[in-house]
Symmetry: C2
Subunit: 490 residues, 2 copies
């Protein structure tokens, strides 16, 4: 089984100079912090209570039992056989992982050509934007009787997904007859939440209606692809087991204490040094592969929500070993690297100029694919391109880009992926997840919450007149109106 | 005719505080610099020679004569009638503008459903990546006899586009018969370059083969949509005139000297102050519209390539008024704001956490669409969402996001677009183009070149053994090998 590797030569001073690269001294000075972070992370992972309550249950997703996985694989096959179209409703972590899998693991132009789908249904992602235009177009063109809907939301209260679900449910009800509920599956909290309650009510009347799968406890949205994404994989015919095996293989490598044997720790430690000591505040993630662009988008959420934090973390451990984290009001950090997703070679003709000549405040992380699914030889022999394979040029372009960054003293590193297979992709996801968790430890922030997204939601709820809203929220909104000066719109 | 407006209230200290917002004093202190920039820009635009030689001919694209425009509109209609599929080959500015138009101005799911296309052909964009997988899939599934190819490259030497063109040409030749050349149009330099020469040769044998349209002198790739993109607009049935009229209307507003009457100048001046004085080095561009995401991607190239510069600019004016610019070796600036494209409401569940709580080093530019093409009412009356329109929630979400940024002292501004029509979209493009040109003036860099993208290209050419390569380049590559330490791959 092939594994992915991490090449970090160009993060070091011997390649990009001491002002912009990591020195061995800097790395060795971090060893105590790295040890501490490792011990803390391992202790949480080993403790069943803490792992779930602190939001690290995702580390165990590759160990899901065979029965569960087989059940989902069969369910997917059944849906795939019966329906022509599947609409997945979800946003954030309930969208980005599925989209990443769709683009990485399926044939390009999957929806476009039936030959590319190999008998599987067309896949649509909606409920990830309140923009009415796309959903309206989709409902106008699909036959509800031939369409299956998967709605993904932990609480059932996410505005985008809830709104889209109500609309799509009504459309199904009108177009698919009285058993329309059999064309719906909800992936949601196993016990609580409005979507769970709704599904349970509907199931009472018809057990085949509104079936559901659990969004596991202790698995946050952005770490949930190997939980909520499995049904999608099964429907499009990906072997779930291979993806989970990939994650498991990476889990083993990413549990090792020494950073020179642990690619996730090494990635996190180097990025952390460059962030704190050399001003590398921007993280460019640049797969040299068209089909991995959505995986880069998935990583953008992972990094932005996990590390972009106002407050440091305060840890409390009770006498029975139960651990809780809270925001440390005395430590306002406003920290986090800002991620930017790009793709090679496409974006060499867009952001490369700024990456090479602009502010030296970035690291670039390449993902290099060694073997593509297809390859094409360029015809003719009249110049340097004739007779070459596209894959050869692709590899050369990646090497050339790394070289151009290095001679401009710009740190960069490369995740090397033998091929974009389910196994390797599972590894890739787990690598980034563990690296992000480890970066959170090194920054001493809570990498598993997202308190900053509450403010705009509260504002919306307040304006919509949602009952039961906290009085403090209402007061804060009333006392901070948006001030407009007359002339400041032109 | 409706116009777009620019709301910049939240860029100011009275809303986000003096540490992170612009004060009136700071703005008024810039008035001499703004005047100077305006006078310089206007003088170039008025001088036919300088406008072309310095790369500002794009300002005049909206004044293209009626005959040219009609010819392209008719040509597009002819191609549209005769062919089922069009492949556009191009990268960077020869791709991003077309893709932006495709997503903004056509119905969502255009390729997916024939009803959405209203009789127009399917559109594919290739030649924008060396990744072999997508091109291979496309050629396997399209009928070459029913496919038209438009290849866009100024020099004809862009590796991605050239490689893809050779491959697609061979595929057409095999599948479409001896007159396959009639299914090709080249948009390229009117006089020079390998693509122009090739088209001319082919035309000698058959005048209907390899027809061509000119990529005008003085129009750089990232400023060229209203030149090279017109055939695409014509093929998909957009009225070119409306787009150009939009650009023209904005040209008039963006030629005014006073910044309080000139939205592009105001945008540039405020961003420039926040960049230089308040450390706002990251530019988030966030349309609240699914269909404008590609327009945000187009702006990413525009900003990154125009302002991301190592050297300041040195201006020389000869006695006859001819102006030249060169890099000022004494002024290494490594400047430029790093652009990030996002979309609301989707990315509220991705990057918003970091925008609100992470480092306060960003400005957010919203694009707000007032009227969507479609709208949907959410069924039911059981909670705050029932009975609301999606568009209403979309507007509220944008307002809520701006509010959340403001209470966290994060500067932001909003481009208000009445509707995503060809006219308004033409305005939007010109607004950003002029704003970028003006920011270049304020930074005193050459906003119309891209010297930083040469280094990786040279490395590629060197490794490919391209003849006639500059000896200095070869020397520089040989003397700066990428150093690898054995242990630094795990």
């Amino acid at each position: 089984m092939q594994g992915i590797n991490f090449d970090f030569n160009n993060m070091f001073s011997f390649n990009v100079g001491p002002r912009h690269g990591v020195t061995y001294l800097e790395l060795s000075r971090m060893s105590a912090a790295i040890d501490k972070a490792h011990r803390h992370l391992s202790s949480i992972i080993k403790n069943d209570h803490n792992r779930v309550s602190l939001g690290l249950e995702w580390v165990n997703l590759s160990f899901q039992d065979r029965k569960t996985v087989n059940k989902i694989q069969l369910l997917g096959r059944e849906i795939s056989r019966k329906f022509k179209n599947i609409i997945f409703l979800g946003i954030g972590g309930s969208f980005l992982g599925l989209k990443a899998a769709q683009d990485a693991l399926l044939a390009p132009y999957y929806n476009e050509f039936s030959a590319q789908r190999e008998g599987h249904p067309k896949i649509y992602f909606e409920g990830n934007n309140l923009d009415p235009d796309t959903l309206a177009a989709l409902m106008r063109n699909l036959d509800p009787a031939k369409t299956f809907v998967v709605v993904i939301s932990k609480s059932g209260e996410t505005t985008e997904t809830k709104a889209a679900f109500k609309i799509v449910e009504e459309w199904l009800k009108k177009g698919a007859g009285k058993n329309y509920g059999r064309q719906i599956i909800a992936i949601t909290d196993p016990q609580s939440g409005s979507l769970r309650r709704y599904a349970q009510e509907k199931q009472k009347k018809d057990v085949l209606s509104f079936r559901s799968l659990p969004l596991l406890k202790g698995v946050g949205g952005r770490f949930s692809e190997l939980n909520i994404g499995l049904l999608h994989l099964a429907i499009v015919g990906v072997n779930i087991r291979e993806v989970l095996d990939g994650a498991k293989a990476m889990y083993k490598r990413c549990s090792r204490p020494g950073i020179f044997k642990n690619p996730a720790y090494m990635y996190a430690a180097l990025q952390n040094i460059l962030y704190r000591k050399k001003g590398k505040t921007i993280a460019i993630i640049m797969p040299f592969s068209e089909t991995l662009k959505s995986t880069a988008d998935w990583y953008v959420q992972l990094l932005a929500e996990s590390l972009g934090k106002k407050y440091g973390r305060r840890i409390r451990v009770s006498s029975d070993g139960r651990e809780t984290w809270e925001q440390d009001p005395g430590r306002i950090v406003n920290t986090g690297r800002t991620p930017v997703s790009a793709r090679g070679t496409n974006d060499l003709h867009s952001i490369q100029q700024n990456n090479i000549e602009g502010r030296n405040d970035k690291t670039v992380t390449f993902i290099k694919v060694q073997n593509f699914q297809a390859d094409i030889k360029i015809p003719g022999d009249d110049d340097v391109l004739g007779g070459r394979k596209l894959s050869e040029l692709m590899h050369l372009a990646q090497e050339a880009t790394a070289w151009a960054l290095v001679i401009s003293s710009r740190p960069n590193c490369t995740v090397i992926m033998p091929q974009v297979t389910p196994f390797c992709w599972g590894q890739l996801l787990f690598f980034f997840e563990m690296a992000t968790a480890f970066e959170g430890e090194l920054l001493n922030v809570n990498a598993f919450d997202q308190p900053g997204v509450e403010s705009y939601k509260n504002y919306m709820y307040y304006k919509l007149g949602k009952p039961g809203l906290n009085a403090g929220i209402a007061h804060s909104i009333k006392s901070h109106p948006l001030r407009k000066k007359k002339k400041l719109i032109i």
